[in-house]
Symmetry: C2
Subunit: 232 residues, 2 copies
């Protein structure tokens, strides 16, 4: 792994080799096993992270102790940028904590910590980076917006939406076969439900002839009906 991985991070795409190397040399790499935490939401804020390999889930803990997954971050994606811009002074004084919890969902997950001090310096010098960062935060806001919208619908709707999205994301060949890359438990948490309800909803979709399922592989047999459920 070297500084070239940073070039794929949208926000850093405006930097030259020298700047990239500098960021890379000051960043802290971390390797994680499946289930290992990057941070808890109670920890003091150090800076934001770049995913280099594997996958990270960002989640809240509900009152009953259960996880509620907000999103997954894949390679070259970033997470925990937000506290960076909430009054710099407070960050320096360790007053800030992370906004949620972050855990690796795959073994051999690798992340880079970009410390806020260093990054803030960069931000002051390089105007382009702030503009990129504005783009990144906007994207995050769109995602949360979409997340909230999805939450207004029932579980079959949410699952249908997820399947359609996954189908679009993976490949794009018209064979409607999707591999669910996360555990069913994580999927349930992401959809805001529990394992049993997810299982029942999958079964209902199968009984209604919308999909066929074999372990982690789902074949969509009636994309039209599925789309109808997905969009209201």
């Amino acid at each position: 792994m070297d500084s070239s991985v940073l070039r794929n991070v949208s926000m850093f795409s405006v930097l030259n080799d020298k700047e990239l190397s500098k960021i890379y040399s000051f960043s802290t790499p971390k390797s994680l096993d499946k289930g290992e935490m990057v941070f808890f939401e109670t920890e003091p804020y150090l800076g934001f992270y770049v995913v280099v390999e594997g996958c990270i889930k960002i989640f809240k803990i509900k009152g009953d102790g259960r996880e509620q997954i907000i999103h997954f971050v894949h390679p070259y994606g970033t997470f925990a940028e937000v506290p960076m811009f909430e009054q710099y002074e407070k960050i320096l004084n360790d007053q800030f904590t992370y906004p949620a919890n972050a855990m690796a969902t795959e073994k051999d997950t690798k992340v880079l910590l970009i410390r806020s001090g260093l990054f803030y310096e960069l931000l002051r010098k390089n105007h382009e980076i702030s503009l990129k960062m504005l783009g990144a935060l906007s994207k995050r806001l769109r995602h949360l917006n979409n997340y909230i919208e999805t939450r207004m619908k029932d579980i079959p709707h949410r699952l249908a939406e997820f399947l359609v999205q996954e189908c679009r994301r993976s490949g794009g060949s018209d064979i409607h076969k999707v591999e669910i890359e996360i555990t069913k438990h994580d999927l349930a948490s992401y959809l805001g439900t529990i394992d049993e309800t997810l299982s029942r909803t999958f079964k209902k979709f199968q009984d209604d002839g919308l999909i066929q399922m074999k372990g982690k592989f789902v074949t969509i047999t009636d994309i039209k009906k599925l789309l109808r459920i997905a969009e209201e």
Copy 2:
């Protein structure tokens, strides 16, 4: 109304008089009656808004046609900044729409439209503004984060949380009296429920001796218990 109102907007606080006047002279003021729309989420994006007077509610329409209020914007607050940073070219080509709906909740509500073209120009010239904007977007993200967290709890919890927050926001004198400044209907929508359930929850709180209610005025009689319900 003149350009000095803009000085109170956090993002514009770094500008000098000349710059403020320029923004003001290029902005479009709009007066609204209670219930009038600023924009629908289907409309092409023109730019973001500053609230000068009154109050704006930002909301989504659910599948059944009901409103789901995401937040309220008060004087000197801004809304609809997000699409501004999602690929400038698309905005110019009218490809973008608003992320939600915006409606005045009070009569004599006044807003200013800051067109994206003008603002983007400003952003390129003035680095400080991007940094302020990063702060503004972060705040918005925090709010959505908090919103999502609240949604994981039941209705009594959400109402208790709302009452405690309102109590803190208004005054701060230790007489625990709160005026609910929005309609009960809007409050229900904000809490993600319906009028009947809100009414019943208020009743339950009264029966349990937590509050006393008279129209729009709520007196908190047992702040300790209310806090216990509010925080899990």
